[in-house]
Symmetry: C2
Subunit: 524 residues, 2 copies
């Protein structure tokens, strides 16, 4: 699989820096809250095919016993913090024996999942940078010392190896803790659920969101640790039903708006350190989600000032998208990584992207009506052209929407057509039923696309089916021992990774946090 | 070779902390001076048996060219700082290409000698802690960034490996420099030498001392980075003829005096971070060098206050040593690591230690005469007993002093007997000549012991021979490319290490810094 399928690179990318907008983003920067968390126990990693990835973390001894012990060089143990944790590891190190006559060398390996501890990172052969694998080797010249590792990690498990001390001294860990960080505050809309599994799903969903809430809504605190528009949209939706930290959504919208390219296109993701820098990746669907996220934000907050200020940016995304439709109103297909839709090799993205365009223009129309800015008509004309073109994607024989010149039938296309509301409600329901029955080969790959499936079911009054999907899919992760919801999960293939190795997958990922949104909004 | 030969360990070591003395040590703490040093070039490490350890560092390109380049992941290059450097490496890192979408992982390897870069540390199998080998792996989450490595290193060469960036960006080093640290100030007695080799020897000797002058006189800035009494003695002697930073000598004497054990015995070495902690190693010869170092200090400074305050500590070392002589005044032999003398496997230390005792008592007598403290008589009686016992060590047949029950003939024994002045000057000269002619098997091993050989020759009016040894031995290191003088050097065996691997040897070592002392004091 070629990297260019997954990477965009624009040499000579030119960025407009809108100071006024970036200042607003800065004003809305959240405080980070700190909480000390201690490990619960040590665990032994055991090969066991019954468990996901073939690794089981078996209780070994309590944390209190573990820190009472003395570790000679060569010792290795694994701490279990009992839950997913994002923060800074801190240890009080003391020598036992003679005064330390040589530096202490410790190696740490952090894992969100047992497999990350069980398997050797040196055998990693995925195509994402190995520098995402969380490990650190430190040398400590003077002891005793309280040592805080400089980088933030996302983990439940930490393997500690005493690589070297000296023949004259061993080491004792007087305490080990993690200063956990998050900008999440209080869940303002806790729900009382009688179904234990649903209750736990709601909890994990809120925990997933909280661990991704840092200086921005990160996509994953382990990887990529940055603000992606597609993830932001789902995080914001869940936020409105949980933490209601709407200023953080506002901050993120202003960040995207503050660094468009010369054309005015917003980036698919933005870095915030050491400065606000847009990535040179631009995605058709993500740019349109700037529009829909702004609408969602206004619906949740009634913040008309932000709406007015950011509308031109939203409008620009539609204008730029409009340039990509042909004379028949059909969105032109493209090669490669131009629209995200889903992590699915070979997935044709034309029809789903066309549907997302319709979905977004409809949302935009609701905005312009509110703003009375005289742009409604233009948008209605555009919408009409796009809707007229829908018939181009319909295959009357197969009774499915098709995409691309190969006329590919995929789940993603049907789901987005339903969400775009191109069919009458009954027809949408029929299409979704047919989809579940026929099971086309281009299935759903990520929790991100599963989210849209559930949303489509709920919008089509298929609550029972929506709950079934939640239970099977997010419930499936729970059955596999998830502490937070994962970036990637294929029930039939636990080792699935679009990156060539499942140890690089993120196991606490923004776009998987939406069960709480469904549960609370639709009162499941 | 068993470790216990080289390690002492005293469980339950009890230390007296003499606050008043430690406060004086603290008062004399030096300032560290900082100097920015840039690499001169990059070099390629090439296997070449003509060079020491089989490695040659071959010029590759200038520093200016090297920093102008872009390095993709997998790049490796080696910087040459042109001279031995002790300090903190600092780099300005910038991404080239897309915004950095994954952490940058860099690996650094520091070498005083080319072999440390050329050979793999992972194959190290010496018995000193591998944590002394200077390497570091860092992860940099945000770029651009000025990154300073947290630990101090001693090196001339630095290998930099771009272990990982991402397919989307490479790295550029806008600058690389080392903030060199030393407490050494100005050489106050520079000499004008016409002989180039002697002049260079003097320079390297001063540089060696300067790089070891930090918060204390360290034995080696790479390893062990701490204050050893035997090294201090030689550093102080050289200091009196170069930097004259006598407060640093004072500080070190107070440090040893401040943390004796319950018996009052000073430790062989002392740690100063995170607090003043004596090592649990006690050596017969080193403890007596507290006495001689105090005398040397007084002779250089006329600081009677320090002399008076520390005399009781000096006196106590003699009293404790006196307990180890038998009824005939003979110092009792012991097994293992009880007296240092030299790094020489199988060397019997009895006779040399006996001679050091005589040497030290003589120095002590000169002190008590000055202090008029009424202790001269006791010391004279002790000296008399020790001198009477010298005949026990004399082998009239071999015309050499012998040591231990195996009646071992070693260079160390003869040299120390000469330095102790147990023979008439002419007899000393004859003994030294016989030594050079007969070449007994137990030869000299370290620059430390070579120092005493040169000193013995000079004390015996054998200036020509002393210069020959300096030229052969220290000159030999220079011919091998030394930037500073080494902890260990065997002309016939360049790979010699008492630690099982020459890559752990220290190549800038306190006890090798004395050529400047000889050159200046004896006007060579």
């Amino acid at each position: 699989m070629e990297n260019q399928t997954f990477f965009q690179q624009h040499n000579g990318q030119q960025v407009n820096r809108e100071k006024q907008l970036l200042d607003k983003a800065e004003d809305a920067r959240p405080s980070l809250h700190h909480k000390e968390i201690q490990p619960v126990s040590t665990v032994k990693l055991v090969r066991d095919d019954y468990y996901i990835h073939g690794w089981k973390a078996e209780f070994s001894e309590t944390y209190e016993r573990a820190i009472g012990k003395t570790y000679p060089r060569g010792s290795v143990f694994t701490l279990d913090f009992g839950e997913h944790t994002v923060g800074y590891l801190k240890l009080q190190l003391s020598p036992v024996g003679s005064p330390p006559d040589a530096p202490l060398c410790l190696k740490f390996k952090f894992g969100e999942m047992p497999v990350e501890i069980g398997e050797s990172f040196s055998e990693y052969n995925g195509w994402l940078s190995s520098s995402w694998l969380q490990e650190e080797t430190i040398y400590v010249d003077t002891l005793p010392q309280e040592y805080q590792l400089p980088r933030r990690y996302a983990f439940r498990y930490v393997q500690v190896e005493v690589v070297e001390s000296s023949p004259k001294y061993d080491v004792c860990f007087d305490f080990i803790s993690c200063t956990a960080v998050s900008s999440a505050e209080k869940d303002r809309y806790p729900v009382y659920l009688t179904d234990d599994k649903l209750k736990n799903m709601d909890n994990l969903s809120v925990k997933t969101l909280a661990d991704c809430m840092q200086d921005v809504f990160e996509d994953g605190p382990k990887r990529d640790r940055r603000l992606w528009l597609g993830d932001l949209r789902l995080q914001a939706l869940t936020n409105y039903w949980t933490f209601q930290q709407n200023d953080l959504v506002k901050r993120c919208l202003y960040l995207f708006a503050g660094v468009p390219n010369k054309e005015g296109r917003v980036a698919a993701n933005v870095f915030t350190e050491p400065a606000v820098i847009p990535d040179d990746t631009y995605l058709f669907d993500y740019a349109l989600f700037f529009v829909t996220s702004l609408v969602d934000y206004y619906e949740a907050t009634s913040d008309i000032e932000t709406l007015q200020e950011l509308w031109p940016v939203a409008r620009r995304q539609i204008e730029l998208s409009e340039k990509q439709i042909d004379e028949n109103g059909i969105l032109k297909d493209q090669e490669g990584w131009w629209s995200f839709i889903d992590w699915k090799e070979g997935l044709n993205k034309q029809a789903a992207s066309h549907a997302i365009f319709i979905y977004s223009v409809k949302k935009a129309i609701s905005l312009t009506e509110l703003l009375h800015n005289g742009e409604t008509e233009w948008l209605h004309r555009l919408l009409h052209r796009l809707e007229q073109a829908v018939s181009f994607f319909w295959d009357a024989e197969q009774l499915f929407f098709v995409s691309g010149k190969e006329r590919q039938v995929s789940w993603a296309t049907q789901i987005w057509m339903v969400l775009a509301g191109v069919l009458k409600p009954d027809d949408s329901r029929e299409l979704l039923k047919r989809l579940r029955k026929c099971q086309p080969a281009y299935s759903l790959s990520t929790p991100y696309m599963y989210h849209h499936f559930v949303e489509a079911l709920l919008c089509s009054d298929m609550k029972q089916e929506a709950v079934e999907v939640l239970m099977e899919y997010w419930g499936g992760m729970m059955d596999e021992g998830a502490d937070t919801f994962w970036e990637l999960y294929k029930p039939q293939d636990a080792s699935f990774s679009p990156y060539g190795s499942h140890i690089i997958n993120s196991y606490c990922h923004a776009w998987s946090c939406t069960p709480a949104y469904f549960i609370r909004k639709y009162q499941l």
